[in-house]
């Protein structure tokens, strides 16, 4: 049988395993609009985003919404990634931005509708004893009283263990602003803890004072 050239241009399709891809490869895949790269970015970074959002917002369902928003923005704005190897930082920056908007939105909503912001509802508890859960709930109420920027700085520095430089980069503010916000947040929280009768009874004021 004679061999005839195909009328259709052929191309080689390589089945890329994105699980083994580097952050740089993933970022390039996202820039090209590849949904497989998005799926792998989700698998890689969604746990981090969900945990930060859960801690910041105190709600499982709100955290899930934020994660959806973050990765949708990541997909749509991937072309803005300047250094493909810094995908993690890019995801963090989007997350912080989304959290900031959500916290402002909640405050505005509370102001407009005269409603109290909801305190911690579905965090997915690790401890099962009521005392620890009560501590967590009370502390969350105090965190909700912090101004948005101070709250985010506190979360990034203390629960995510970010450095001042990393926090400043994620929040797009100067390092001195991070330090100032952190000091204010720390002072306010310490003061409120001492003034909270529920917390004061659990923490002997003299013993726990710095």
């Amino acid at each position: 049988m004679p061999i005839r050239p195909s009328p259709v241009p052929l191309s080689l399709v390589v089945n890329q395993d994105h699980r083994a891809a580097s952050d740089g490869d993933l970022a390039r895949g996202l820039m090209a609009g590849d949904t497989r790269a998005l799926a792998e970015a989700w698998r890689r970074y969604a746990p981090m985003v969900l945990l930060l959002a859960k801690r910041t917002l105190g709600s499982q369902s709100d955290a899930e919404d934020i994660a959806q928003e973050v990765f949708y923005r990541l997909y749509r704005k991937a072309k803005r990634i300047e250094d493909p190897h810094s995908l993690r930082s890019f995801v963090y920056a989007i997350t912080v931005h989304a959290l900031k908007s959500e916290l402002y939105r909640k405050k505005l909503r509370a102001w407009l509708l005269f409603e109290q912001p909801h305190t911690l509802s579905g965090l997915g508890w690790k401890t099962v004893d009521m005392e620890s859960r009560d501590l967590v709930r009370r502390f969350h109420v105090l965190l909700e009283r912090l101004p948005t920027r101070e709250r985010l700085v506190f979360m990034l520095r203390r629960t995510e263990s970010m450095t001042v430089q990393e926090t400043a980069a994620s929040m797009e503010i100067s390092e001195s602003t991070v330090k100032r916000s952190m000091t204010r947040a720390s002072n306010r929280l310490s003061r409120w803890i001492e003034a909270d009768p529920g917390l004061a009874s659990m923490f002997d004021a003299e013993r726990w004072r710095r």
Binding site: T35, W42, R43, L50, W125, M182, S186, L189
Partner: protein, 435 residues
């Protein structure tokens, strides 16, 4: 953790609280990650399909205008009208007294009844250990350490009620329900007669929303969560003051002969339990899928399918799913259904079979059939929202948005805040705007 010289050091109390707070947030489970990815991909694909229709500038302008008007009106109202302060919440205790720490001690053996001034009631069954943790203007926070209690919250007062029940937290507004917790057997039960509640705690879904007539049973020891439907009309008669003892997870009725079904106790030792160990569920929770699959390979697939317990089969199925081994996942799920037809896991298996069929490529039709079966047999089961959402997505792919529209409508009416709600709204919008 590094602290720069310019930052104030945290007080010790703050340090301790921050550590407790950070450690308490549970990382996302594999189910959550999987579910989130599905929602994300569905959103991306629907938006990609609609790209190019730039109507958003008008929408944004209209929205901005509305926001400005709303701000002005609200500002005016706020100036003229003070924020209504709820009245102080007080309570009366009958049949016992309040001890230090808010603990309730019954005087006889008839239980304790706490009546609040706005009409709400908190009734402890005889022998129940409960306490009033906090009563403020905005609501009350009560706790049950073991036993059974009924709460009847007066609706419409805008107050928020929190009920700690062992490791669970029930968040309520106007509602009537009976709740029980047995710390020894680690069984939680909630029977909701009226209204709606949200239960959070150590359950796989993170948060479970219940509506009137539903009963939630959680067995922590067996890691089983079952939601069953009661007849709300019938259960309404025992709304207040009648207790329900802690009950084991109630299996769904099965059409097949359940009497021949082996129980966990009568089973031969599962492969993973041969040395008194039973780790697959634990390994699954820690993402050690390869270890489970290696065990299965070592013991033999046939032996595993024939002898493993329902929990172990479930763990094998999930490990195989996550490791992209749909044939093994399918076999494990089918074995689970065949050998434990009336167990709650068998119902979950129907849903998971749908997920496996989806993964097998040309299995869209079979997947939809599985989801339909799940929705018929467990209309309010823990995966009902997921099953309906997946069915909507697959129907749209297979038959187009017009055929998927009724499914989207049903989804939104049942799960308006579900993870597929955004996709459902998009589908309806796209379908409505198409000629």
């Amino acid at each position: 953790m590094t602290t720069t010289p310019y930052e104030t050091k945290d007080s010790r109390a703050l340090k301790v609280l921050t550590e407790i707070y950070s450690d308490n947030a549970e990382p996302a489970t594999l189910v959550e990650i999987d579910r989130g990815l599905n929602s994300l991909l569905a959103r991306v694909s629907s938006v990609n399909a609609r790209r190019g229709r730039a109507t958003w500038p008008i929408a944004v302008a209209a929205l901005a205008l509305c926001a400005v008007v709303a701000l002005q009106v609200t500002s005016l109202i706020r100036k003229r009208m003070p924020i209504p302060e709820p009245s102080q919440l007080t309570y009366r205790v009958d049949g016992g007294r309040v001890l230090e720490g808010g603990y309730l001690r019954e005087a006889g053996h008839v239980g304790v009844n706490v009546t609040f001034n706005e009409g709400s009631q908190f009734r402890l069954a005889p022998g129940t250990r409960g306490r009033i943790r906090e009563v403020v203007k905005q609501g009350a926070h009560v706790a049950i350490e073991h036993g059974t209690a009924t709460l009847n919250v007066t609706p419409g007062t805008g107050r928020r009620w929190l009920v700690d029940v062992g490791p669970f937290l029930v968040t309520v507004k106007g509602t009537v329900f009976t709740v029980s917790w047995d710390p020894l057997s680690e069984q939680f039960g909630l029977n909701l007669q009226r209204g709606s509640v949200v239960v959070s705690g150590p359950v796989s879904a993170g948060e479970i929303a219940l509506r009137a007539g539903q009963r939630l049973s959680v067995n922590l020891a067996k890691a089983e969560t079952v939601i069953t439907e009661d007849n709300a009309e019938e259960s309404g008669s025992d709304a207040v003051g009648v207790s329900v003892p802690p009950q084991p997870a109630k299996p769904e009725p099965s059409s097949s002969g359940a009497s021949n079904e082996p129980t966990e106790a009568s089973l031969p030792h599962a492969p993973s339990a041969k040395n008194g160990e039973r780790r697959w569920s634990e390994e699954l929770a820690h993402g050690q899928w390869d270890r489970i699959l290696d065990d299965v390979k070592r013991v033999g697939i046939e032996t595993t399918l024939a002898e493993a317990s329902s929990d172990d089969l479930f763990a094998v199925a999930n490990a195989a799913r996550y490791r992209r081994q749909p044939d093994l996942a399918r076999s494990a799920l089918l074995a689970l259904r065949r050998r434990f037809p009336s167990s709650p896991r068998a119902l979950d298996a129907i849903y998971l079979l749908g997920r496996v069929e989806e993964f097998r490529g040309n299995g869209t039709t079979q997947a939809i059939a599985r989801y339909d079966e799940y929705l018929t047999r467990a209309p309010n089961g823990p995966f009902a929202g997921e099953a309906l959402g997946r069915k909507m997505t697959l129907t749209e792919t297979l038959e187009g948005p017009a055929r998927a529209r009724p499914v989207a409508d049903e989804y939104l009416s049942r799960f308006p805040k579900g993870s597929y709600a955004g996709s459902a709204r998009t589908l309806i919008r796209v379908q409505s705007s198409s000629p």
